[in-house]
Amino acid sequence: MKRKLAVLLSAVMAGSVLLGGCGTTGDMQKSTGSTGSAASKTTASQTKSSGTTAAGSKQVYPAGTITIYGTGQPQYLKEYFDAWLDRNRDIAPDVKIEIVQTESYAKSREKISMTSVSGKAEDLPDATYLDPVNIMDLSQAGLLKDETEYLKPFVSQMVDGAATDATVSGKTYGLPSSVRPNVLFYNKAIFDKYGIDPATMNTFDGYIKAGEDLKAKSSGTVYLSYISPSSKTWRYWGRRGMMPQANAKIWDDSGNVVIGQDAGTKLALGTLDKMYKEGLLLKSEIMEPALYDAINSQQVATFYIGAFWDEFLRKNCQKTSGQWRVMSSPVFDSVGKAGAPVSLYFCIVNKGKNVYAGLLEKMWHDFHFDTKSRNEWVDSMEKQNAPYANPISLEMLKDEFWTKPSDYYGGQSFRKAEGDCLKNSAANLVITPQDAEADTIISTELEAYIAGNQTLDQAIANMDKNLKSKIGKAKIIK
């Protein structure tokens, strides 16, 4: 009897192990029906909203939670989306928003890809913020919604090139979220203290000279800027910074590796090398407490970086409030182009039945074209020292709200300056599906150079050699 019972229990255990892995794929989500067969209802309501159908009836979205992946400090966007949902309860009575913060856009892509590979489409987010490099892979895998037709009527109403970087083989896979230039933040108080005119930093030669003067006059206590010992140096000084400005190339038009011989690369990275060798750059990881301490102690005079850095300065460096100003990036005399714009996109995930796709498009539209609600949100962000970007809508930019002076920038209007810095911008580096791997290879050599293990010439030669041996040729997608 005991033996039979033991045999029976073992069989039950074995059976449950087998069934345990198979049981959940077909499950329908009960209360959070963000996908699935829950059809949206239509009503004959005549209430106006931005989503009224042609027949005069509105589409009402089913109850559930919309999940959005974002990087940086995306939780502040929830404030706008929650307020938007409150204003639009007639079409989304029981819809909630959940923002999931990821470490980087690459991590968002990683999470989406892994979820897709696992076969659990219902666990995919409804939308995600992505940069152009990560849009390339996901769009090719069919994971992003094609927004070409939806965007057509709005393109002329947006800043130049807003949709360009999300366009792959003629199709646009993301709704433009922001177009932010690479700018130069400088601490005016430091420059006043040492009698250096910031206007001389309009060229890279002038920028380096300013750094040399700062170092001499401060006896080495004040640095021109920082250098990160990690991959962020390539990201901010290289790919998004000096490489586009120097008209540098990683690949030629056929996808062959040319970084080793490219004059632009030598110009861009050579400039970084000069600054680093002369001790003008503080070696400290960006977005970490040690660097914020140095900023608050007035040890770092400038930041050559994307306009997004504004949110980190305001959040972490209140001690230097009123001291900072913004100007256009220095230019290389031989090229004459200012910082390249960094575009960010709001991408709707293609998860088979994304019942909230239309709702997300409406939310995106109002965020970028409804001046009143956008301005209210920005005011709230300013009070909280939270991040916000300039609008991409040309009409919205005309509003005097976007020329308001900022106390943090000593009366200068950061919003106006950000818009002005988009002028004369350099073109971004060509984006290829191999860029994510190429960035890793290039950054590894640059980090070894920063650590003092090789010269810059050796680093560039190794980048060239390793790109050729590991990748070979990139696929150029027009």
């Binding site: 192990v17 990683e110 407490p289 050599e445 070894a448 650590a451 003092g452 293990n453 390793n466």
Partner: protein, 289 residues
């Protein structure tokens, strides 16, 4: 065969759950890994066969060899420091003269139960070049600050320290349980014969712990080659302290070269298989002697 199955039905059913789990979660994925390593699959779409291209690329990949070298260093240093410290702490815990054993056992095991990522973040602050406590201490002694995580020569040190600190308690408990099984009579007899502490340790304690130490060596070898958390949370410049497992993860889930990552996985399987074979062969010879 049928008679055997009928006769031993109950025992077979008892071991069936393990074999189902092994088959589904270990054997099938291992075979799948071998297959994927021969393709250039990006994680989405259909894998395309590419033969041994991934292996050819591996052998000329500097990043692969750097992470391989790092992992060997972690293995050897972890092996030496963890085993030595674990034996020392276990012997101290087992000492009759120690008061408050419960307290010391609890404190000893604490590092193992702390979340590795949380502890790693604390270590990152401790080893920060400009504001870390370690460099502050060195500066107070008049020494130069060290770029622990920014200098390629030193970037492995914090990783090794974290790895040893976190894993020593586990092996301490295993060795301690082995010490508890050694009869006190041996030590009493040795004392009567005039053997000192060191001789008792060398001729009684260590031989009695042989099987336990062999188990620890196998487990520690596998753990070291699978190291990920420590090197991930304490990144150094370039690949100066990247482990092989971390490089495999990066290749698979950051760059999405699943085929390439699978090839690294296959190399790891072969390496661990070879090391285990050597360890078992040596042990077999020792037992034969």
């Amino acid at each position: 065969m049928k008679r055997a199955l009928k006769k031993y039905r109950a025992p077979y059913l008892f071991i069936l759950p393990f074999f189902i789990l092994f088959f589904v979660f270990q054997l099938v994925p291992t075979i799948w890994t071998f297959y994927i390593s021969l393709t250039n699959w990006k994680g989405l779409g259909t894998p395309e066969f590419c033969g041994f291209d991934n292996y050819r690329t591996l052998f000329v990949d500097n990043m692969f060899w750097d992470s391989f070298r790092n992992t060997v260093i972690y293995w050897i240093s972890g092996f030496v420091f963890i085993i030595l410290l674990a034996i020392l702490i276990a012997v101290l815990l087992n000492s009759e003269k120690l008061k408050g054993k419960v307290f010391y056992k609890t404190v000893t095991f604490l590092p193992y139960v702390c979340a590795s990522i949380a502890v790693g973040l604390i270590f990152r602050m401790l080893f920060d070049e400009r504001s870390g406590l370690i460099n502050e201490f060195l500066a107070s002694l008049g020494q130069k600050r060290i770029g622990w995580l920014t200098d390629m020569s030193f970037s492995k040190v914090p990783v090794i320290i974290l790895y040893v600190w976190r894993n020593t308690p586990w092996y301490t408990m295993i060795i301690f349980s082995g010490l508890l099984n050694i009869s006190r009579d041996y030590y009493e007899a040795a004392t009567v014969d005039g053997a000192g502490v060191w001789k008792q340790f060398w001729f009684i304690t260590l031989p009695s712990l042989k099987n336990i130490l062999f188990f620890c060596s196998i487990t520690l070898t596998v753990d070291s080659w699978k190291m990920f958390n420590e090197s991930y949370i304490l990144p150094g410049p370039g690949t100066s302290n990247m482990s092989l497992f971390q490089y495999m993860y990066q290749s698979g889930f950051s760059i999405f070269k699943m085929g390439y990552a699978s090839a690294i996985g296959v190399i790891l399987i072969i390496i661990l298989g070879m090391i285990s074979f050597v360890q078992f062969s040596v042990r077999k010879k020792q037992m034969a002697l």
